[in-house]
């Protein structure tokens, strides 16, 4: 039994199925415990939907999404989410208070909340910004708060929906490397969504490539055994990039063709 499993998962918006509204059809996906799994796909292919199903934000129309054999019913602190934008941070709370939020919901006392949250803020390099509000911080710093807020929960599963998508290239590279360090020590199982092949190769133990929508499912999977830290300039990196690019490129091409035809 795999730790996380999508079995024949179908999802669409609206009651009746028609040509365009099917997002996922027959998605099968398994993630074993402790794996950093990256889901790659062209835009609109339903990779965020897959993450939302595992998070419990949406329910599948058909099939099932299982964690340790049990269907996902609702969101929970065993599967914490790092959201794409920074809208999920509470603007009236300081960086520290945002990280304390899950601990407050757990009912922990003020002193323990504070020390655990401070430790994680320090870990993501924001020790000196604890008293600042999100709007006083850069985009990269806000995503660091999100990382700290998710990891402070000690959750077995981390769900990340293109968390670095809105950041500039330099910041993104730095945060990718930091995320590798942080996750290496946590033992958590990660589902990470992106459309950036290089990002996937830096982070992943395993990469799944999805088909172009509508009615998307998994097209191919790649096991990555490159040693870490991975060098973006290495020959091995380029070779893996090339293999994935060929598989993903076809799907991106389909999207481009369809958009041109429409």
């Amino acid at each position: 039994m795999s730790f996380i499993a999508f079995r024949e998962v179908g999802f669409r918006y609206g009651e009746r199925e028609d040509a365009g509204n099917s997002i996922l059809r027959g998605l099968d996906l398994e993630i074993s415990r402790g794996t950093f799994y990256v889901l790659l796909g062209p835009s609109g292919c339903g990779k965020t939907t897959a993450l939302n199903l595992l998070a419990g934000f949406e329910a599948p129309r058909s099939g099932s999404v299982l964690v340790e054999g049990r269907p996902v019913q609702q969101p929970g602190m065993d599967r914490v989410v790092i959201f794409q934008g920074d809208d999920s941070l509470y603007p009236w709370l300081t960086a520290l208070e945002n990280v304390e939020f899950p601990l407050r919901m757990m009912g922990l006392g003020a002193a323990e909340r504070r020390s655990r949250a401070e430790a994680w803020l320090a870990r993501v390099g924001l020790a000196n910004h604890a008293a600042k509000f999100p709007h006083q911080l850069s985009g990269g710093m806000k995503q660091r708060i999100q990382i700290a807020r998710a990891l402070v929960c000690d959750a077995p599963v981390l769900l990340m929906d293109e968390p670095f998508g809105a950041l500039d290239a330099q910041t993104r590279t730095i945060l990718q490397d930091e995320l590798v360090d942080i996750c290496a020590g946590s033992g958590a199982t990660v589902l990470f969504i992106t459309h950036d092949i290089a990002e996937a190769i830096i982070l992943a133990d395993r990469i799944g490539v999805m088909r172009a929508g509508p009615g998307s499912a998994l097209k191919d999977e790649f096991e990555l055994d490159l040693p870490r830290p991975r060098n973006r300039g290495s020959v091995e990196f380029a070779a893996v990039y090339d293999r994935i690019q060929r598989v993903l490129g076809e799907e991106v091409q389909k999207v481009v063709m369809r958009e041109a035809a429409a």
Binding site: A55, F57, M77, D87, F101
Partner: protein, 250 residues
């Protein structure tokens, strides 16, 4: 003083200067008195104590109504926001009442409460309540998908989501409603004082007309402006300090 304040003050002074010249050269005082004449009239009323009394009456009515209306409006708004069934039941009533200007209630209020202070308190409370309630509801209607999702992920139940996510997000809307409510309360107050009062700035304006004292009218009008500026500045300064983390837009 900031450059903006200097410029703003300069504009007011220039306006008064043009008015002064125009009043002296073109108009007779009974139509448009000069600012200097208005100031002299105001000073005379101040020395007699009559002006302070009118200001005190108007200000106290506003303060009572504003405080009661803010509390009631925020309470109802939060109740509607926290309990969807309450909102569904009572919102049609709110929509029914919202187009009735508060002053339309003046006559029934006079019958129910008489010409004393209570009637004015009721009308200003009503005015403020409505603005605070409607603004609070607008705040609750604002969708923040990821914030709500994060709350669920991180273990917040429905009460905790209300207390820690939806309520704080609505604080600026409640305070904004109070500010608008205060502005509207001035309108309600002045009309109520003109039609049903023996004291207050509204009565000063109306009485001055009866006594053919145009200067007195303008003293009343200027008094309202000054009272309004003071009340709004005090409200902004106090809320900015108390609700610093909510980044109010003032």
């Amino acid at each position: 003083m900031s450059r903006g304040a200097v410029r703003g003050g300069g504009a007011v002074l220039l306006f008064l200067l043009v008015w002064e010249i125009a009043a002296r050269m073109i108009f007779v005082p009974a139509v448009l008195p000069a600012p200097s004449a208005i100031a002299a009239e105001g000073w005379a009323r101040w020395l007699s104590g009559a002006l302070q009394w009118d200001v005190l009456m108007s200000a106290s009515r506003l303060a009572v109504g504003f405080a009661a209306g803010s509390l009631l409006g925020a309470f109802l708004g939060l109740l509607f926001g926290a309990f969807a069934p309450v909102r569904r039941i009572l919102e049609p009533l709110v929509q029914f009442l919202r187009f009735i200007p508060p002053i339309a209630w003046l006559t029934p209020v006079l019958i129910w409460f008489g010409i004393g202070e209570e009637g004015k308190w009721v009308l200003i409370t009503y005015t403020t309540t409505f603005m605070v309630l409607l603004n609070t509801l607008a705040g609750f209607a604002e969708q923040h998908r990821d914030r709500m999702r994060a709350a669920r992920v991180f273990g917040a139940g429905s009460w905790e989501t209300f207390r820690h996510v939806r309520l704080p997000a609505t604080v600026p809307w409640i305070l904004g409603g109070m500010r608008i409510g205060m502005g509207n309360s001035f309108q309600t107050l002045i009309v109520a004082e003109m039609l049903a009062s023996n004291e207050g700035l509204g009565q000063l304006i109306l009485n001055s007309r009866l006594q053919l004292s145009t200067e007195g009218m303008f003293v009343g009008i200027a008094g309202i402006a000054v009272l309004g500026i003071l009340a709004d500045s005090a409200f902004r300064a106090a809320t900015r300090r108390m609700f610093q983390r909510y980044r109010l837009g003032w």
